[in-house]
Symmetry: C2
DNA sequence: GCCTTTTTTCATCATCGGCTGAAATTACAT
DNA sequence: ATGTAATTTCAGCCGATGATGAAAAAAGGC
């Protein structure tokens, strides 16, 4: 009784600063519950999927009332979409910059390996240095990627431009490659990569500790070489294009 | 009123034969609701995941009362596990037979490509000829494979023996390969393969129709060659083993 | 200090969802 | 036909869940 009374005190100011102001958050040092909710939701959605999480769990995780979640995001779906969209732009920008830089600095000497590295590295780097939020985010994307019901549409909506950019650079590196081979090659690449960044711990169990899901550096160069060789094999075994000479 | 009365008639014998008997189903031509429930659950779980499906939906899909679902499987989790386990044995047996046959018929001339084909082909063949239930099942496995919370454990529990068999054969085909490279190579392989069999339609959208998720024959030879080349690249770029000459 | 706007909580609704007990139905053995 | 055991349905409990309206609290402008 007494304890519960204390618990339900208006708002235990506890550690966090108190929020609530007129103008939308001006990126001050003040607490931003909207972001805190997104963080909590990101973590939970990544671990249990959309249907495996309740708005109340999100509220608890964020230390907030359920109503606040709906105040900011309307519906549960809206919350999920906000989580998904939040980091997509940043990731896309990083990848585009990486691909641009690669093409600029290696004009005339583009290789499949280089293009793939330019695509993969930003993700690995962010996962290594971006903090736990990013790790959750990647696991979430991996899950969406494998969701039959709406995964295809969602991935397409958020990530297609960057992927097409990758395909372009790969096309420059392998001028004789057919379009389909590049698309299939990307499909294999993304399947492998997404499984890695979701860090399910499978390989740890399978290899009895010889490999660790969390060892992103081990993944980075292996995945790059693996896929580069795969792309080359795809192109080499494609039905021969009769005349190759350009110009 | 009248229509609803007709609807709630004891049991509209409709098309299906009426079930209910003493001894457990003796594989007659009679209806087996247990299997029908599993089929429905498989379909729904594959599409929406464990938490995205209610036992009531499963009951409707199977044309059965909810209570029957619990009568047969106890809990929703029990139902899910039953779905997951049902086809695992068959798939494992087919893969083991394929790997055994490959090793027997090609003793002394084992190749990475051959080993990988022996692992992949049964899945592709079953997906092509096994009917829609199998397609659902593969999509389900793909989803579990990418589930951070419990995917690793589940995959390990059901599929590890076959995977270790594959690793063994790959080790015979590439004696100089280190254990870790084989495990990582398998991780990439399974990520790519699972994404393909979950048929999310992503590549259809991405390629604007140039590639089709459902085109398993296109996947079969491409994925095999891609991964075979990938494995070789992994092994070639591994820290050099100082002395290689066997015997 | 007041007024306005925004943020946060409280209390609650209507529905859903997993599950269960008991009755009804069926199949089979004798 | 009668009894027995397995199957199937009915009806409902009870907690959880998505969502909402209104009140309270906080922030800022003046």
């Amino acid at each position: 009784m007494d304890a519960s009374a204390e618990t339900r005190a208006r708002k235990p100011p506890a550690s966090r600063k108190i929020a609530g102001r007129g103008r939308p958050s001006r990126s001050d040092d003040k607490v931003n519950y909207k972001e805190i909710i997104l963080d909590g939701a990101e973590h939970l959605f990544a671990q249990h999927g959309f249907h495996g999480v309740t708005t109340r769990q999100v509220a608890v995780e964020a230390g907030v009332d359920v109503a606040l979640v709906h105040y900011y995001f309307g519906t549960k779906r809206g919350l999920f979409d906000a989580v998904f969209a939040r980091r997509a732009e940043i990731l896309n920008a990083a990848r585009l910059a990486s691909l641009d830089a690669y093409e600029r600095d290696n004009a005339g000497a583009l290789t499949p390996m280089g293009a793939i590295a330019a695509f993969i590295d930003p993700m690995i780097d962010i996962s290594l240095t971006g903090g736990p939020g990013w790790k959750s985010y990647f696991a979430l994307v991996a899950q969406v990627n494998n969701t039959p019901a709406w995964g295809g549409v969602t991935m397409t909506r958020f990530f297609d431009p960057v992927v097409h950019r990758l395909i372009d650079v790969l096309g420059l590196a392998m001028p004789q490659a057919r379009e389909q081979e590049l698309y299939w090659g990307y499909q294999f690449l993304t399947g492998a990569m997404m499984l890695c960044v979701s860090e399910t711990g499978r390989i740890d169990l399978l290899s009895e500790g010889a490999c660790r899901s969390s060892d992103l550096e081990a993944i980075r160069h292996r995945l790059t070489g693996y896929c580069a060789a795969g792309f080359c094999a795809l192109v080499e075994s494609q039905p021969s294009v009769t005349s190759l000479s350009a110009t």
